[in-house]
Symmetry: C2
Subunit: 216 residues, 2 copies
Amino acid sequence: MRDAFHEVLDQLTDDLVEMTRLAASSMSRATNALLDADLELTQTVISADEQLDALEKKINLVAVDTLARQQPVATDLRIIVTALRMAASIERMGDLAVHVAKVARLRYPEAAVPPEARASILEMAQVANKLITQVGGIITTKDMDAVNTLDLTDDRLDALHREIYNLITSENAPHDRKTSIDLALLARYYERFGDHAVSVGEQMQYLVTGIIEQRA
Amino acid sequence: MRDAFHEVLDQLTDDLVEMTRLAASSMSRATNALLDADLELTQTVISADEQLDALEKKINLVAVDTLARQQPVATDLRIIVTALRMAASIERMGDLAVHVAKVARLRYPEAAVPPEARASILEMAQVANKLITQVGGIITTKDMDAVNTLDLTDDRLDALHREIYNLITSENAPHDRKTSIDLALLARYYERFGDHAVSVGEQMQYLVTGIIEQRA
């Protein structure tokens, strides 16, 4: 039979996986809204962000309540504190998806991303999505080896960021300055999203290791 | 006589104030490095960031140790969890100062900020510094009314951000695209720095209220 603390751990784990799923779907929809100049889709990104905020609040309440009622020590305590930190990082990823959606909304009915940058932005979004999906997988499958692959995936995001930077700083770029600046900020949003995913993955590894130690 | 828990609170308070001081000094030096193309100064920003990272780690250790040993509940517990969150925000402010310093280093020996943008960037830095200094003051003096003034100060940062955006998106701007993009990112770094300061101020208010309730 599971004790109360392990039931809380299972709940925290489920909620964190759900947060990664929401963050992935949110950034993916923000990217579609951006590339297709789809105004309605930007609205769903903002709704998903409210769900992420609510889940973070829920995790905070459960964590603080568990600290107060069960007064965990050692590994148990570190797991709870780590879950708080992971929830904060994933909540921030939702904010970055909202930033992307807001660029789409600001430029509507035009598309913010010009033809010459579409492939790079799309790939940045795909790599960012892959990262957070991998992170969700790590906590579901408890496959710790997967954490080591996150950095490699993130390197591709950095390379794409440099590619976009070279395009938008070129004086004979076929787009105007406003577009250059949109693209600079967009590339930064995807890169920060990736950084948060890697950081959550590393924290998850720590948390998962703790859970496995406890169950051994 | 103070009990062990209140001694920990005093230590956390001192460490958080010291972090605000370091973040203020770091962003101020990063700005000087940026405006004067001063390469040596960029190095001191990176050193200050290491100090900030170390202080955040220290606060985390003390907080987790206090949760384990003293098993605080109710207000005491919320204060410790809030201190963790505040330390994370101020640590992130140090990262933003490093981002500013890196723009200075990347453009050296040229100045990254062209004459037409110097006044706005300087004022953004001054307002950002005012915000974090006010936040440090709030925790030192426990003057809760001051928290309400943070948003007003932050509004000025938003206005300056818009001013810079209008300058750099103008097709007849006297600087090149690379400079426009540097300025877009710099304005965003100062604005994020301000957002974090406001958020720390709000968290501090919560923490300070907790401390005052305890001492009443």
